[in-house]
Symmetry: C2
């Protein structure tokens, strides 16, 4: 199969997942959250890495579905913890049903993810599971750090980068590593791909932070300035508080202390301060650095050139969203 068919294959396999009908309260939320869509980034990466290593999609489709189901499970539980009303513009599971159902359907969804991951090829099964579970633990650690940051007064750039590495990036790394292992890559090559995926993941998250402030809302697909409105600690806020002189820091603190009904002025003022400090360019440069490192790691591997280009092309396509 051509890699352009992967996305279609993934959607069709997700629709075909055998999820029991009863108890309906347990399994209906699983079907619901999987039906809300998303970019299916992780399974695409997993299948593409398998292809890179010379494997067929049959070797990796179950783990690819497993990583997507796991990702959606983390969204389901994170939404409870973050008290989020919406996910992909639809009510979250705890809002549509209730918190108990959201906890338990998340648990059974994690179980489904594990069952799918356990269908990895025999000779790589133990290694695939090691990668999956160690990174699953890391994702929990990242979510905990993110929750801690809400009440932590000072968060350094290094702490923030470590948080997004754990919460977001490692699962992209694991997707590439597991796909490569299923496709027959050596453990060493798969480990390099893990690092490449982590670096790309950090670049994506930095770019998300940037797009929230400087992106074109139409292109980004959500309201600009959402992180500013919610006073979220992002790379921009953290860098700003580190770089600002006393006057600018006081202005920033002032705006972040307000929760105006109409947030337009707050967003515009914070954006102005970020620009004044050159944080748009600086953050883009940092994301570029991580992304370049990811590309270099992939291109340094001794796989077929054309297949390396397909993987870096996919990552690049995911990255170049309009500013």
């Amino acid at each position: 199969m051509d890699i352009h068919g992967f996305r279609t294959l993934i959607e069709s396999e997700i629709k075909g997942l055998e999820i029991p009908k009863v108890p309906a309260e347990l399994y209906e939320p699983v079907r619901y959250i999987l039906s809300l869509g998303g970019k299916r980034l992780r399974p695409q990466l997993l299948l593409t890495a398998c292809h890179l290593a010379g494997g067929s999609e049959k070797d990796a489709i179950a783990p690819a579905l497993g990583i997507e189901v796991f990702h959606n499970f983390t969204l389901l539980h994170d939404d409870i913890m973050d008290n989020a009303p919406l996910r992909r513009n639809q009510p979250t599971v705890h809002e549509k049903w209730n918190t108990s159902i959201a906890i338990l359907s998340g648990d059974v969804m994690y179980t489904l993810a594990c069952s799918l991951m356990s269908q990895a090829p025999d000779h790589k099964l133990r290694k695939v599971l090691d990668v999956f579970f160690s990174n699953a633990a890391a994702v929990c650690e990242g979510q905990q750090l993110d929750m801690n940051f809400e009440t932590q007064t000072n968060v350094s750039q290094a702490e923030y980068l470590e948080m997004i590495r754990l919460k977001t990036a490692v699962l992209l790394g694991a997707s590439l590593q597991i796909g490569a292992l299923c496709g027959g890559a050596s453990e060493e090559d798969a480990q390099v791909l893990y690092q490449a995926g982590c670096n790309a993941g950090i670049a994506f998250q930095l770019q998300d932070d940037l797009l929230d402030v400087f992106g074109d809302p139409k292109a980004v697909g959500k309201r600009a300035g959402g992180d500013i409105v919610s006073n979220k600690k992002t790379i921009l806020k953290i860098k700003a508080l580190e770089k600002a002189d006393q006057q600018l820091r006081e202005q920033l603190s002032h705006w972040y202390s307000l929760s105006p009904d109409n947030p337009d002025e707050k967003i515009a003022e914070v954006r102005r301060i970020f620009s004044l400090l050159g944080l748009d360019k600086e953050t883009e440069a940092l994301a570029d650095k991580y992304f370049a490192s990811s590309t270099a790691l992939i291109q340094g591997l001794s796989f077929v050139q054309n297949r390396k280009d397909i993987l870096t092309g996919l990552l690049n396509q995911l990255r170049t969203r309009t500013f």
Copy 2:
């Protein structure tokens, strides 16, 4: 190692589990709930089944810890859903910390359980994981049914037995099945042990229901009548509503509609009605039937007689708590 050493081994291995220190909010609750003790029933069964099949405890200790960690994870999440203030006479995790921490530390605990289970011997790894994950899903289904029963008007005996089979019994079955597989048993023998464990588990739960009403509080270790006070649907309540004539059914409904500050009269009256209907004897006979079936399944296997007696002896010891 002698099976009498299993309990000591399990406690020492649980203490020795390598649980990270940070983020403290994530991992401290894991250490906490594992330190609260309990009978360690599931890992004892797992190691004893491994021994029965001729294996050494080294073949099964990691899965034995995995099943205990999984069980404690389900308690942690169930306590959130049931809004329970205490677990083993200590504050529950969501009470001692908060709900978000209880959800997330439960998730990481499930991950730890999976990692331990993945250390099953190579040649049985996939089968062990299949058994573990299919029964983990069943446990979630059982918890969902139990929650549904709270608001469901009529619950039949058959529905109740299916709920306790899923919520409680299958994990005892899985403990025996996984232990036997790790010890080198055939898949057929391991499947028989699964059934034996399920039947013993149903017997234990029926006996728990019985002890709540008719047990000696000192011997049981908790206040008698707790299920009556909380109007919980147990095998006794369900049988009573099925067997009672109109007058007794009205009396039962009356008592179950009350939540008196001093519940002594309610407990005594409900107990009197249960006795009048012969439900103490009838429930004991039902538990006996399941237990006898469990023993017969084990004794019917072609393992060394002495080792079969050790397993049935352990199950019997767990069962003969004082009335």
